[in-house]
């Protein structure tokens, strides 16, 4: 007979998290080759779709983890930090839509609740 290895759920949950840092490997991701289209009504749809087309090249050129600034159909530049990219965006495109995007091989998928989706048209 198999030994019953079940434990009370509250004990498992408590033991699992206690004193342990958040594990980055628990964040789901998607490969850059599978990034979805930008919705056509999005103010940054053009920029996003340009990023999707160019991300493979940017990765091949060694820009992984750097930050790219895109406006319209043009890559304005690539910087090491978000702050640097944003500073240029603020200088050139203050209060205008543009795309500041980290170049990643795998894009994290953020989790949003049913309450959030109930508030989306």
């Amino acid at each position: 007979m198999n030994k019953d290895t079940r434990k009370p759920m509250h004990r498992d949950a408590g033991d699992q998290g206690r004193g342990q840092p958040l594990r980055s490997d628990e964040t789901p991701t998607i490969a850059y080759t599978e990034l979805p289209d930008g919705s056509p009504d999005s103010p940054t749809a053009n920029e996003w779709n340009l990023y999707r087309r160019e991300v493979g090249r940017l990765l091949a050129e060694g820009h992984e983890n750097r930050w790219v600034l895109i406006k319209g159909q043009e890559i304005i530049g690539i910087w090491d930090t978000e702050a640097d990219a944003r500073a240029v965006a603020l200088q050139k495109y203050l209060m205008q839509p543009c795309l500041i995007q980290q170049v990643r091989r795998r894009e994290p998928i953020v989790r949003m609740s049913a309450r959030f989706w109930a508030c989306q048209s």
Partner: protein, 172 residues
């Protein structure tokens, strides 16, 4: 110890929030002589099911905050790319404006295109964990008390800040 106390309501863990233009944009507007729109007070709900805070499109448009980032999220029908903007998000007690606020001066927020009338902001884990200064190097925790309700607490700028949600009436 600065702390904010809110009642638990039928609509959830509701808080008073103020949404504004983020700090870097405010500085850029100021230095270029452009007008700065006043922050917008709103009602928010704590939403621990969401990783990212979301703000109604109407508020972002009123503030003139543009989309400058995108992120990917999963829906029942697949992966979507969604608009993200930078905003200043503060949780405060509107009944007592002299109380200290919990402020994230440059938070990446998603758009809520059709929020219900009562709630225009969903406060996600990014705000709550930032208030706790959580990171890989610095794990954090939250407390739940069946008698008292939920307590988020954390250290920011050497000050301890807390948000209480009480099941019973708010103490005077």
């Amino acid at each position: 110890m600065p702390k904010l106390v809110f009642p638990v309501l039928a609509d959830g863990l509701l808080v008073d929030v103020v949404i504004g233009v983020d700090g870097a944009t405010t500085a850029a507007l100021f230095s270029s002589g452009q007008p700065i729109t006043a922050p917008v007070p709103a009602r928010g709900a704590i939403d621990t099911g969401s990783d990212v805070t979301a703000v109604s499109t109407a508020i972002l448009q009123r503030l003139g905050i543009p989309t400058q980032y995108r992120t990917t999220t999963r829906t029942a029908s697949g992966i979507l790319s969604v608009n993200v903007a930078k905003a200043s998000v503060a949780v405060r007690d509107a009944r007592d404006p002299t109380r200290q606020e919990l402020v994230e001066p440059a938070l990446s927020v998603m758009e809520l295109t059709t929020p219900p009338a009562m709630v225009e902001v969903l406060i996600g884990l990014d705000f709550l964990l930032a208030a706790n200064s959580c990171s890989m190097a610095r794990p954090c925790s939250f407390r739940w008390s069946p008698e008292q309700g939920v307590i988020y607490h954390g250290e920011r700028d050497r000050l301890w800040s807390m948000i209480y949600f009480l099941r019973s009436a708010v103490p005077s």
